[in-house]
């Protein structure tokens, strides 16, 4: 297959990867715990896209059965991702709660400051 043809048939994956890697970059490059959590949720939404995009059929409709339509997009990824979104926000809240506690214990949510505080013999800042 030519490069252009390959691009036309696979670009949905590549958009997903751009989002995914951007999320990953935020997670590993940024020191702020809140920022890391937001990067993690961007990574997560890219996974939603990775699941949903292959389920789409061009010319299909949303999977709600009606006599007028014959072709439906794939409902199975929708189910999986639907629950994943709600679970995702619950775990995000858990992460934020831990960040809040860290902030209260260390006075900071910057990774290097927390590590520095730990190196100083566990003395609270």
């Amino acid at each position: 297959m030519s490069v252009a043809g390959h691009f036309a048939s696979h670009y949905s994956y590549w958009i997903t990867f751009v989002l995914m890697v951007a999320g990953l970059y935020i997670v590993i490059a940024r020191g702020n715990l809140m920022k890391k959590l937001i990067g993690l949720s961007i990574f997560q939404t890219s996974v939603y896209l990775l699941y949903i995009a292959p389920g789409k059929l061009i010319g299909g409709t949303a999977p709600i059965v009606a006599p007028a339509f014959k072709v439906y997009s794939n409902p199975l990824p929708h189910v999986l991702i639907l629950t994943a979104i709600v679970v995702g926000v619950a775990t995000l809240a858990l992460g934020l709660a831990i960040a809040v506690r860290i902030r209260e214990a260390y006075g900071s949510i910057e990774e290097d400051e927390i590590l520095a505080a730990d190196r100083d013999g566990g003395e609270r800042v």
Binding site: A62, I64, L82, V86, V89, A90, A93, L96, A97, V100
Partner: protein, 143 residues
Amino acid sequence: MRRFLVLRVVGKLLIPFMLLFALYVQFHGDFGPGGGFQAGVIGAAVIVFYALIFGLPAARRLVPDAVVESMVGLGVLLYAGVGVAGLVFGGNYLDYFVLGADPVSGQHRGIFWVEAGVAITVSGVMLKIFYMFAGRRRALEDQ
């Protein structure tokens, strides 16, 4: 918060319709997009909206913490209870076919109660998380 007259009036107008929309999403989930997860989130968002406009203490009076916490557990128990009901009526766990007179109505009933359980748990958890985050600073200051 007394100053935001427009916000309060518009909020009072909108909140009933938002709650109605949550219920619509819940019970229309069989025919259109929607279901327990979405309805639970929208229902919790209504109370969050109320809390943002009228202040957290007012929302806590409207929906007390005890109610929210029991909702969290109740939804899971309701879901698991549907499974146990399937066992009691002679099927497998979470088997809805035995719940009604014929398999289709049994399925309908099972799905309905399961979705209700999901909605109750999800809205309870979301609301509780919001209360915890929003009430944290106040609790610290009170100390």
